[in-house]
Symmetry: C2
Subunit: 697 residues, 2 copies
């Protein structure tokens, strides 16, 4: 898969140049200088030889087969080269050239034409507007980046060329090895999803890193990520997650940024580790590339000073890790050689006069403790300690360790060499304990995610034909918003439990319906134009007798006529009053990149004021529905506080899953909510009291 990009037997550089400083020179030079073993064809009509290699005027003149073409010519010239590629049967092309979608509508048109033609010719494209690609196993550097990373286990793809440059430079400084580097550019054809899948198959890649500003096909991306993350961790930094960032993002790449909530949900649901900053990305990458995953949350800290130990304990408290108890035998063993002032508990404080021998002995003992799942070694450069020797001891003991070992040697000059020793021997070395702990927490998160059983999906019988007809009729009437009775029909078709109700056009009809349903009843305006019924005075509850129903009919209709003149009034809905329960809200919002997203929260102010909501991308698995119910801060209210009975959580889950199925079945729903869903006490289900659905063709 995409093998000709990363492992071609021959490469042509179209636009190869003789002038150092030109991109066409840099690319050719990079391919040649880092030891690529295949054949290289510089293409340039004006040159006979470049960098000691025979140049050809065009692709057609090359006598042999070409597996990969790298194009570095002005935008206007690219289409012609793609045609030539087609003729020459080159099916893998990297287009370095800028001046497409990123410069505006004209460039976008050029890019569309190019994409169409490439598709017709069966040509796969990386780029345009990119830095190129690197594969260290094949010593192929088909990019104009300055430098070549060491061979290693990290695969990196990036929507920003600059990020490639920065990360490459960082990697060279820190001696961090990479398997592949892919600059995605405008993602005209090959997107993050395919690169991710190709890295899954690449045996040299153990950890997949990505920088993204947008995602091309959300559901496909999620599906691929979920699959890949079962075997290889995927760590992604997504920019443009906030409103200010998103503004900057769309001016940068012309990509429509999905909402923050959608990305959060999508990453969570597909096992992706979300790096919050570049620093986290680097920190996580170091840990995942070199250390085994922790088998549990219990961390032991070894330190030669109290202060940093406390800071590390504080940092731990903000994660899923904890400073686990150590075994009594471990403490006893430590006590044998540690000075009396040392602490043999966690953090294990071997105090300021600790030498590297004391570090080594302590680490050896702690590593053997089977209650401990990971070890973090802190060092302050006291006079007593030789940091380099400590580093060497750690390296030695790490060889046979079956648990992750992290280090944070604090300070500057006096720990510089030690940190290099650690880094060179694949022991993650951080400047601050917090970074080490966050990285370890990410590893634990990944391990736990991977250990989860296959997700269960539930399928409900539903009258999809009826819903289809209903939506079609609404759209035929040039409406977007369903009136309540229509929304109720939709929910009924999907098996939701609804309060009994009927629209009454007159007071008399209302009285008749009320007596049929039985008092007390609820009455609500029935109008396609009134969305916030309560705010408009369009709702009356707990109507206990005929007089109250009569009054309510009058009040509701006159309120609406008064406050929203011109609103079409279809009558007043007379409804069964559900006796008791907690109000929750379920919603559907269609995200541009990921499709329908399901929302859940407690009714009223919890959603509106406190924004206490959970989101997931549809379709929801049973586990995901459960997780989103438990995710809101107000969850204890559903479980029951102060002796209250718990509500029917299974009823909420059922409703979420039905709503998810509806959202997937009908992409025409662009927004909707069930507000409130009245949840009865445990075992008694939930009732959809009111619903709003908006559709679009």
């Amino acid at each position: 898969m995409l093998e000709h990009f990363f492992n071609p037997s021959s490469v042509a550089v179209v636009g190869a140049s003789q002038s150092p400083g030109k991109i066409g020179y840099d690319i050719l030079n990079n391919i040649l200088q880092y030891g690529y073993a295949g054949t290289v064809y510089p293409i340039n009509p004006k040159a006979r030889e470049i960098l000691g290699h025979r140049a050809y005027p065009d692709l057609a003149s090359v006598p042999s087969e070409i597996e990969l073409a790298v194009i570095a010519l002005p935008a206007r010239a690219v289409m012609n080269i793609v045609e030539q590629c087609g003729k020459k049967k080159i099916n893998s092309v990297v287009i370095i050239t800028a001046g497409f979608k990123e410069i505006g509508p004209e460039g976008a048109r050029l890019e569309e034409d190019l994409a169409r033609r490439a598709r017709e010719l069966g040509i796969r494209v990386v780029g345009p507007n990119c830095l190129g690609i690197i594969d260290t196993a094949g010593s192929l550097n088909a990019s104009f980046a300055a430098g070549m990373p060491l061979a290693g286990r990290l695969g990196f793809f990036s929507q920003s060329g600059a990020m490639c440059v920065a990360i490459l430079d960082w990697a060279l400084e820190e001696n961090v090895g990479f398997s592949r580097f892919v600059s995605l550019g405008n993602k005209m054809d090959i997107s993050e999803t395919e690169i991710m899948l190709s890295m899954e198959r690449d045996e040299n890649t153990r950890v997949i890193l990505g920088y993204l500003e947008s995602i091309e096909d959300g559901p496909r991306f999620m599906k691929a990520a979920l699959q890949v993350s079962r075997t290889k961790p995927i760590i992604i930094i997504k920019s443009g997650t906030t409103s200010a960032g998103a503004k900057a993002a769309s001016s940068h790449t012309g990509a429509l940024a999905g909402s923050n909530h959608a990305y959060d949900a999508a990453f969570k649901q597909s096992g992706i580790i979300h790096a919050e900053s570049m620093q986290s990305l680097f920190g996580y990458a170091m840990a995942f590339a070199s250390q085994p995953l922790p088998k549990g949350p219990s961390l032991a800290i070894i330190t030669n000073s109290g202060g940093p130990g406390i800071l590390a304990a504080d940092a731990c408290d903000k994660t899923s890790l904890h400073l686990g108890p150590i075994r009594k035998e471990t403490a006893d063993r430590l006590r044998k050689f540690l000075p009396p002032a040392a602490s043999v508990y966690n953090p294990v404080d071997i105090i300021g006069d600790a030498s590297h021998e004391r570090y080594e002995k302590t680490l050896k003992v702690v590593l053997k403790d089977n209650l401990i799942h990971a070890v973090l070694i802190l060092l302050t450069p006291t006079a007593a300690v030789d940091a380099d020797s400590v580093a060497r001891s750690v390296v030695k003991l790490a060889k046979d360790a079956d648990k992750p070992i992290m280090t944070a040697f604090m300070g500057g000059r006096r720990v510089r060499e030690a940190r290099k020793i650690l880094q060179d021997h694949a022991i993650p070395s951080y400047g601050y304990p917090e970074d080490a702990i966050r990285a370890l927490d990410a590893m634990l998160y990944y391990r736990r995610g991977r250990e989860q059983p296959e997700r269960q999906y539930q399928h409900f019988e539903a009258d999809t034909r009826k819903v289809r007809q209903l939506f079609a009729s609404v759209i035929r009437q040039h409406r977007h918003d369903l009136i309540e009775s229509e929304a109720r029909e939709v929910l009924k078709a999907y098996g939701f439990r609804l309060p009994e109700s009927r629209i009454a056009r007159t007071t008399k009809e209302a009285l008749k319906t009320a007596s049929r349903i039985g008092y007390p009843v609820v009455m609500k305006i029935a109008s396609p134009d009134v969305l916030h019924k309560s705010d408009m005075g369009g709702v009356r509850v707990r109507l206990e007798n005929e007089a109250m129903v009569e009054n309510a009919f009058f009040d509701i209709t006159s309120n609406i006529q008064l406050r929203q003149p011109g609103a079409r009034i279809l009558g007043v809905m007379v409804q069964e009053m559900i006796p008791q329960g907690k109000e929750v809200i379920l919603g559907i919002i269609r995200d541009i990149q990921f499709g329908p997203m399901i929302m859940f929260g407690l009714g009223g102010i919890y959603v509106e004021v406190l924004k206490d909501v959970a989101f997931r991308i549809a379709p929801l698995s049973v586990e995901e529905a459960d997780a989103m119910i438990r995710e809101i801060r107000a969850f204890p209210l559903l479980r029951g506080v102060r002796g209250e009975a718990p509500v029917d959580i299974q009823g909420i889950r059922d409703a979420l899953l039905r709503l998810s199925q509806l959202a997937i079945d009908f992409p025409e729903i662009i927004e909707g909510d069930i507000n409130p869903l009245l949840v009865c006490p445990e075992g008694q289900g939930a009732v959809a009291v009111d619903a709003r659905i908006t559709v679009q063709e």
Copy 2:
């Protein structure tokens, strides 16, 4: 103030040693090697000369006056030396020696004795169990630290010697200058507060940094910090803020850690900048030491690549800063020389082929824009750019700039030298945009705090005599919890509005009281033993007539007898029913380090489930009371949502201030709450419906 510590004309080192590697050698050597200009007296009965200086057998033998003594002898010997100091009229002593409070009860006793004797002799002490002190202006390094920081503007004090070591080593690596370094040790006498005050007066110190694990006298510390922070920023990293950290902290220093909430509140109220991690501490220190404070929140970002620009914009969104609009003239001026693909808006993206000249031109133009309050320069090491030259341009332009300039040059090798150039010329240089933005945000926070007007305190008339008598009587009865009628008396004495009420001992009395108050009424058990009255069935509300009052009397008393047998029942409280309002909770909690702390939240689940509360240390100023009301997430509910009328916020403020005054007047209150305080619509005040007060002698 403490001048003999930092600027002594003569120093004696008691326990000076001839053997390299001994602490007594290191200290003497440090004093001598870094150019201290005063007289130095090594004290050692076994030596005649150490490091070329004549040694004396004891302090008495020194022929001249001694202004500072540094003691590095075993713990048992220290008391005798302190006596000698007294005789020699040395009033400033640094005790390096460990083996006191930190090793347990025995050491603690030794330390107490020492403290008492020093106080009697009028001797001030830094330590024991510390690294020593450094003053760069006087070239005095009276510590056993390895190395001497450059002279600079940062003053640093630390409760952890290790933190001193780490920060010193970092400073040497990064060429960051310090004015003073103080290792506080066990804080037997001189604490963080006095060091802070001495640094306020030290003209070389412009920024005060501190690492703390505990605070000795919370109120005194807050008062001093508030004063000092008006002229110099105080940046503190406090460890042991979480439960795990606090456990580690107390095993480390034996100090009782104050609660997280108390520290948060205290720092907020005294203008302290709270650094969340060592990395933040360093990052903030760099910025505050070298750059002017931003005059406002509007940040301009200049970048040669889109991705990092978006990440920076994202980071901005999490702070008080924003990417402000730039003036049209600025955009026009930029457009003149920037390529068409560049973005002249914010972030100003001067794109990947930017040279240092383009950086310089752009920065020059942006600096002149008076809508912009701060500039962040991002650089990715592309082939086109010479990072060193960019650094030099920034240094040049920063000279005349009146706004803060920060930089984040990303990558490794290719930006290393450039970052050094910036650092050496006092331009803060960060590895990641996020760090630069957080530091700038801290500067803005500090500036805004400093610009706030003097706080206003309100004083209420109160019947303190009555409350004093009441508490005395409760304590005499060996009770801690006041019964409701007593708590009501206390609130009444402090001018709280209370619902009319009276304890009824019989049904008949209850009926009489109810008819006097007027229906409807509320009834509640009156018992010193029942704390959660509702949970026990001890409350009935909305009692509309005689029959309901009769039933309620029976129900309440039998519920309590049934559910809490043995509880003393004084009768049933019959209370006026307050017709409408929102329930809020006010509380007092006594913090060990800071004294009474006031809590505020919305009633019921908001406090109990959502933990949506605000804390401040008493006494509250009017502004602080207002701020805590606005701080809770549910505040919009008080201001009124969806057309609801706002509640009487002034009534809440008034109640908070009265409670604060009560808490300050009566330290015997260790806990208490008003739950609920029923807040009426705007202009109609608030009523304290129920209260609980716990006292202790």
